[in-house]
Subunit: 338 residues, 2 copies
């Protein structure tokens, strides 16, 4: 199960997530089966909405981190499968509730679940998935892992409340922004990585190292996401751009641009974000201002720094295919912005 060396893997030419998926394929297939089983219910809406979510699905980066961390440590049990499933269910439940909170109509350019099924349904199915996540954690048999993941779930909710209070707040500093993404994004990445050494009964030093790996990777991931919301380094408009701008979220590229703003630019940000008075042309103007001040570059530079720290955290572990894959994942998270 320690897999093929990366260079021989069939998808060797593809991105690290695809390669990691191939390496972790057998485990991930079992995680998918657990997810499907957990979404079963005689109440038709639940499997229907859940199946839609799975198919709309992202890259399963969080459960991959749990699986790869466990395998890197030579863990031989099955508890990591349940924990990986729990991590993905917490993430999915959070997405469902986020879309209700943000009143989103789109996610990744597709209609969001709350837009199709309604807010009440999204709230309740989110609660159902959250409860199923905890049932999976119980299956892992590790109270310590349960503690880590339930704590992460509380921190995520705290971060989301904090973010909500900061919508349209043009006084948002880079520090308060970093606090928010540390909670709303990095906490779950950190927990996803940390539960594996805990489950495998590894020393605190390894648990701390994987916590750092996950946290730094999560910070890098969110910074890149926030840059991509303005088109990334190319700063090109696409169907997935502009959500944060339209919702009045002050992310790092904007917080940095606000610090350096001219009087006219400040008036622009106040009108569009604080007062939420926007026209169709404003997003292009916003991107032009971010380019002028180089804040998308700066945001991505920060992301590269966090990704590098994630990689450094892996140095205490013996090199194997899994260590290499986790390290490559940190690079990939940043590279997708280019």
């Amino acid at each position: 199960m320690n897999g093929l060396p990366l260079k021989d893997a069939p998808q060797a030419a593809s991105d690290p997530v695809t390669r990691l998926m191939a390496l972790a394929g057998r485990d991930m297939a079992e995680v998918e089966a657990l997810l499907t089983a957990r979404m079963a219910s005689p109440v038709a809406l639940i499997p229907e909405l859940a199946a839609w979510l799975v198919n709309a699905g992202g890259k399963r980066i969080r459960p991959l981190i749990t699986i790869a961390s466990a395998r890197m440590l030579g863990y031989r049990g099955t508890g990591h499968l349940a924990l990986a499933g729990a991590v993905e269910l917490i993430h999915t439940a959070t997405l469902l509730h986020d879309d209700v909170v943000d009143e989103s109509e789109l996610r990744r350019g597709k209609a969001s679940a709350n837009h199709i099924w309604g807010n009440p349904q999204s709230v309740l199915v989110g609660d159902f998935l959250f409860a199923q996540a905890f049932m999976l954690m119980v299956d892992s048999g590790s109270l310590d892992a349960l503690h880590v993941l339930s704590r992460a779930a509380a921190i995520i909710a705290e971060g989301e409340v904090r973010q909500l209070a900061m919508v349209g707040d043009v006084a948002t500093t880079r520090e308060s922004y970093m606090d928010v993404i540390d909670a709303k994004t990095a906490a779950l990445f950190a927990a996803a990585a940390q539960v594996s050494p805990i489950l495998a009964g590894r020393p605190d030093k390894e648990s701390a190292a994987l916590y750092t790996y996950g946290r730094e990777l999560g910070l890098a991931f969110q910074l890149v996401d926030d840059a991509l919301d303005y088109g990334g380094l190319a700063a090109m408009l696409g169907k997935n751009t502009g959500d944060d701008f339209r919702e009045g979220k002050i992310t790092l590229p904007v917080a940095l641009a606000l610090e350096a703003a001219s009087e006219d630019e400040r008036a622009f940000w106040y009108r569009t974000l604080r007062d939420k008075s926007q026209t169709d042309a404003d997003l292009a103007t916003a991107i032009a201002i971010l380019k002028r001040h180089g804040t998308l570059d700066e945001t991505l530079a920060q992301a590269r720094g966090h990704a590098a720290r994630a990689q450094s955290a892996l140095e205490i572990f013996p090199a194997n295919d899994w260590t290499a894959a986790l390290s490559a994942l940190a690079e990939f998270v940043v590279d997708r912005a280019y």
Copy 2:
């Protein structure tokens, strides 16, 4: 800690919940302290909204059941405090999300949290409290209790989704109504009672008996609530009446009245509940129809039957103050309708 005999308790003349509260006073004070500690957060909205919820608070019936069940069994540890707190947090989180789902503006005649703070805030603080509930469960150290409570949380969400699909559905039968309340209400009462024998390592027979006690009590409780929403046996309008009617929820009094409806009455229910076309006078008309068919009486008779079954389930346990208090609680749950 086995307490005073009921007759010597200071509030002996008052209702069973108050007497049980006195008997369980020391434990309940510790549960309150746990709840307060769990609601702490540097994010101001969380303790603010949570404190408001605690003060708006109900009678803490669910955690009382956990405490009394543990004490009845002679449990001497402290895990029951954490589990009782977890039960109340799950209940509170559920109430917050329910009010969002129902678009409620009032709860118990007071403005609801979502009406004061907003739906997004209620969704997120509910998630936070839910996560804190699981952290408390972890503190209890019992994976089996965690399984029972996380399963209950999933069943509650399932029941709520089912209820949502049944809003305005005039074809709702008494069976489908009972399925809904079994899930949305009785599951948590059952879990609240069952976690104590599990924690105390008691035989399956006692765990099953307390499950039955909690479930039957929960069914009685919800049936009485649904009758009270139309004014109870007196069928009097009050500030807390009419929520279900306005929301188009088909509860047992209405489901029974629909079975026996004349053509005119059927047209009335179709207009007011299915089509949600209501005038101010309609609630009084609805109550008059329910009285005509005696369906509030019938609903309360059903509640009495469930309360009696709850009491019977206690018969396998040796009589002590706690057994007596739990039995009295079952009577009280029904008596409040009169």
